[in-house]
């Protein structure tokens, strides 16, 4: 018992009872297990990863000290999705560490407006080498985007305007904004996610989960 918490026995007993509430989530997880496993199979396409994530979810839910959750099913799926993303993020970080990016050079191409010339702001005090490198790659990728796709990307992702606001700012339709956004994503993906794609291709080749 944490000596700094001097609650009465009565209070401790009560808290114990409250925390047993997470047993409800665990029961719910059992109930939705098949659906979540199907989701994870489609999400990872790797039976081993499905098992790992299901196991991790079970452990987390057992340890969970969460109060009542508004929509438990959505919570469980979101949890599964986040665990997959955590793994993917970590995998890419490892890949990136193994690839010596600093040996590659990126040139930031200034546009007619010159707005990207100033962009290579150099390292910030808290930046790690990886941060600086990642930013340089992002800037290089953005600098080579087609004009309208770049503008849509900046308004939506940097200035955080909604699609509708971007559309009215650029004087185009919402669906045109969406097209620019997917074009921007395709370009960024080609430049930024090359290592991920190579690896993805490898994982596709060993995909054992199609049937």
């Amino acid at each position: 018992v944490d000596p700094r918490i001097s609650s009465t026995d009565d209070a401790k007993e009560r808290l114990q009872m409250e925390f047993e509430g997470s047993g409800g989530l665990l029961a719910l997880f059992e109930e939705h297990r098949d659906g979540i496993a199907r989701f994870l199979r489609a999400r990872t396409r790797s039976p081993a990863e499905v098992q790992d994530v299901v196991q991790e979810m079970w452990l987390r839910l057992r340890e969970s000290r969460l109060g009542p959750v508004t929509s438990p099913r959505a919570y469980l799926y979101q949890m599964a999705n986040h665990l997959v993303l955590d793994r993917e993020r970590e995998r890419r970080r490892r890949l990136l560490r193994d690839t010596n990016w600093t040996q590659q050079s990126y040139t930031v191409v200034p546009t007619a407006e010159g707005e990207w010339q100033a962009l290579d702001a150099g390292p910030l005090p808290d930046d790690s080498v990886a941060d600086v490198e990642e930013r340089r790659r992002l800037l290089a990728a953005m600098a080579t985007l087609p004009e309208k796709a770049r503008r849509a990307l900046i308004l939506h992702k940097i200035d955080e305007l909604s699609h509708t606001e971007v559309a009215s700012r650029m004087g185009i339709s919402r669906s045109a904004v969406e097209k620019h956004m997917s074009a921007a994503m395709r370009h960024l993906r080609t430049v930024m996610c090359t290592c991920g794609e190579q690896d993805s291709a490898a994982s596709l080749a060993t995909d054992r989960d199609d049937t």
Partner: protein
């Protein structure tokens, strides 16, 4: 493989962007998302790329935005305009508090009702506003804040600016960290999870440093400040549905609970200095006051639309 080759990468990415937005919402159709993922093996790759690319952009948003400043020529124009109205502004300052056309942009009020609400500041920093709390954001860089209630701050480090927050008569200054603040009337609580903040009294320049793993309380009449270490999990426990108190005076506890109870909760001055330590599960908030009353062996008095905690047997005012 029986899957048809995916002909249009951009169409897939457009769908992935759609699912990226959908999966962060509570009402996401997870079955439909599963079906989309099952439809083709490239779909999950597109989804991963879209989500992780968005994270990369978000990480560098502050820097990208800063370098997006208007070019020099525009700036000069702006200064010329500003100089032209300086006299008007100066005059207006002396005459009245009418809104100034070229002063800071108007402030914006945010109110979290029922559930907490996430507010983006200008540079990628975020504030999670607790239910029943109000945040006013002003300043050209959206870095002047006023809080009534509780909020959790995740502030991106930016050497060029310092965020200034007024809450419960205290001034919190920060350059990049994660912390929780509660403020109401002349009570305040500042709990730091990461980094360090400076906490001072409104109207004074000097501040006390509060580093990660510590909290500062201000309460009582005359007001006293109290500094102590806390556990990492104690900061903004309401994000996961619970309230963690370590040796906090009842007046502060009641102030924090009232946010979730949805009505003012006061404490009989005779017991306001009594301390409470423990964890309360918020639930829908309606049981919090009764629960605290039970644990502390206090009476809960109903006074119209508000509740009052008093010693058992204490006389209820106005009866």
């Amino acid at each position: 493989m029986t899957d048809a080759p995916e002909s249009n990468e951009e169409q897939v990415l457009q769908a992935a962007l759609h699912w990226h937005a959908a999966t962060s919402r509570v009402d996401c159709d997870w079955t439909a998302f599963t079906e989309w993922l099952e439809a083709h093996p490239t779909h999950r790759l597109a989804y991963d790329d879209v989500v992780l690319l968005n994270e990369v952009i978000a990480r560098h948003r502050a820097v990208l935005r800063r370098s997006d400043a208007p070019p020099i020529s525009h700036r000069r124009l702006w200064w010329a305009a500003a100089a032209a109205v300086l006299l008007l502004v100066a005059t207006a300052l002396f005459v009245s508090d009418i809104p100034l056309p070229f002063a800071a942009p108007p402030s914006r009020d945010y109110l979290a009702q029922g559930s907490s609400s996430l507010i983006g500041l200008a540079d990628g920093s975020h504030v999670l506003l607790a239910p029943g709390s109000r945040l006013r954001v002003s300043g050209r860089h959206r870095d002047r804040l006023e809080l009534l209630g509780a909020a959790y701050f995740d502030i991106v480090h930016d050497p060029d600016r310092s965020l200034v927050l007024n809450a419960g008569g205290l001034v919190v200054r920060d350059i990049g960290t994660r912390f929780e603040v509660f403020g109401s009337g002349h009570m305040a609580k500042v709990a730091v999870e990461e980094g360090v903040v400076s906490v001072g009294v409104l109207g004074q320049d000097a501040g006390t440093r509060v580093p990660a793993g510590h909290r500062l309380l201000a309460f009582g009449t005359p007001r006293v400040a109290e500094y102590a270490s806390i556990g990492a999990d104690d900061v903004a426990g309401w994000r996961s549905g619970r309230l963690v108190f370590r040796n906090e005076p009842l007046s502060l506890v009641a102030g924090q609970i009232s946010l979730y109870a949805g009505m003012p909760v006061s404490v009989d001055p005779a017991i306001a200095a009594r301390r409470f330590s423990g964890v309360l599960v918020i639930g829908d908030g309606s049981e919090l006051v009764a629960r605290l009353g039970e644990i502390m062996d206090l009476a809960v008095q109903h006074q119209g639309a508000s509740l009052r905690l008093a010693a058992v047997g204490a006389e209820q005012p106005g009866r």
